[in-house]
Symmetry: C2
Subunit: 260 residues, 2 copies
DNA sequence: CAGTGGTCTAGACCACTGC
DNA sequence: CAGTGGTCTAGACCACTGA
């Protein structure tokens, strides 16, 4: 009698999911059914279901039932590829945009805004909190799954009066545009973290409880200063970030992402 | 009357935490107190507290109370540094071990085991599921916080009869040992993902609900084949993985991690 | 010991879904 | 409409903590 009853119920259901007795997409017995089956009160059954929900195993929909979640098939995004070939080193720095096996990313929306810098943005760009920055937002779907949120932040003194302030795609890419403006990129730093989504991300990704997001902060520098911060927010269950160093036998390499 | 009562209670408490009325480490009012304050039943109050717990804002300890969590100060682990200096490229590939500002990592345990390969390990090492592999496990603390789990998997035909099969540290590192055995490393691939912790990780890291883990799978290759898989599991709230490419102004660079 | 959270029950009514 | 999950109540007893 070690475990509490709601744990035991959760364990039993988890086993049935792991063993395949309950397959992905299938409906679990209704709560009244579980009450009868386990001789527990409904609150106890619901405690067990809450556990499974928080572990990302099931999802419940009002009026319909509780369903076993499909295991997510993550896509691989290539962060960067560093070749150390006989003829010398070569650095290929792809954007963390999908190079996927099945399905093309689609950009759904692009927005340009001008807002005061948050504390975290200000720190990376080495400006004061509250200083104005230009944000270029876009988001990408993979099939019908919202997959990636991209926010690029530019210091106002760089972006003011340039194409960066206007909506629409940047011809030939923003890196080249920044170089033309006298701020050639000399390097960048990626900082990768994971956390639970905030309310906006939760809605946007249509997440169920128990799914984290992965955040990549890519800060680009000229020789003198930070010139851009790009923040990529991915669904944690849909992405694997790849980063290749050295010579990798061809069959193990990730696909090159589409140009962006 | 839009939101249910437990949401309203959670919102009120969340505001008090955000505004600083309830400071990190402080105890929330007891559940009976909240019952009186919000004129709700204890179950409803507990629903609200469960919400805050899942969002990583509070932690409850039986017999003591519910406490506001300290915001985690993440440490930065340097995944790799790629220099593109005038004198030529240089690739520094640090293990994802902490280069921290305050506190030194300590290795707490080392274990060596011999087990059948799981599906995911078999795939990376290109062997059959169930084939024996040697696992070298270790874990690191940062102060008194369990921080990092490392599992290295070696194919049996490489490790059999070598120092890899014995407990204790590998002299001069396992990369060099593998090279001496005729399997020089030519490159590696990092695959980075995030997910909710499993039960073992949950206990090990002493996590509260609402904290994901970050997993780095580093597969090392010789010219011919995979020779090692190292899996790093971090507390998601305690780490930022850094990855530097190009020339970064010195003051923006991460600390070099301690040799390992 | 008193006070805290952890577990559990039995029942009620509401909101949503598909038929 | 019947059946599902969503919310809520009122009360009970247990397990853990610190004084």
């Amino acid at each position: 009698m070690a475990d509490p009853k709601y744990q035991q119920i959760a364990d039993r259901l988890r086993e049935q999911i792991a063993s395949g007795a309950l397959k992905p997409g299938e409906r679990l017995p209704s709560e009244p059914d579980l009450v009868r089956e386990f001789e527990a009160s409904r609150n106890t059954v619901r405690l067990a279901l809450a556990l499974l929900t928080n572990q990302g195993l099931v999802v419940t929909r009002q009026g319909l039932g509780t369903f076993v979640l499909e295991p997510a098939r993550p896509f691989t995004a290539l962060l960067s590829r560093v070749k150390v070939s006989p003829s010398g080193h070569h650095v290929s720095t792809a954007l963390p945009v999908v190079g996927s096996a099945d399905g093309e990313p689609e950009t759904v929306r692009r927005l340009v805004e001008r807002v005061p810098a948050s504390a975290s943005v200000a720190e990376k760009l080495e400006i004061e909190r509250g200083d104005p920055v230009v944000i270029r937002r876009s988001l990408q779907n993979l099939g019908d799954v919202p997959w990636l949120l991209i926010n690029s932040y530019f210091p106002m003194d760089l972006a003011s009066g340039t194409a960066l302030e206007q909506a629409g795609e940047i011809e030939r890419g923003s890196i080249r545009l920044l170089a033309d403006l006298g701020h050639p990129q000399s390097g960048f730093v990626d900082e990768i973290g994971a956390r639970m989504p905030d309310a906006r991300e939760f809605d946007f990704f249509r997440l169920s409880s128990g799914t984290p997001v992965i955040v990549v902060n890519r800060t680009s520098y000229s020789a003198a200063r930070p010139i851009r911060l790009t923040r990529y927010v991915y669904r944690g269950d849909r992405v694997r970030l790849a980063h290749e160093v050295g010579t990798i036998p061809a069959r193990y390499r990730s696909a090159e992402p589409a140009a962006s």
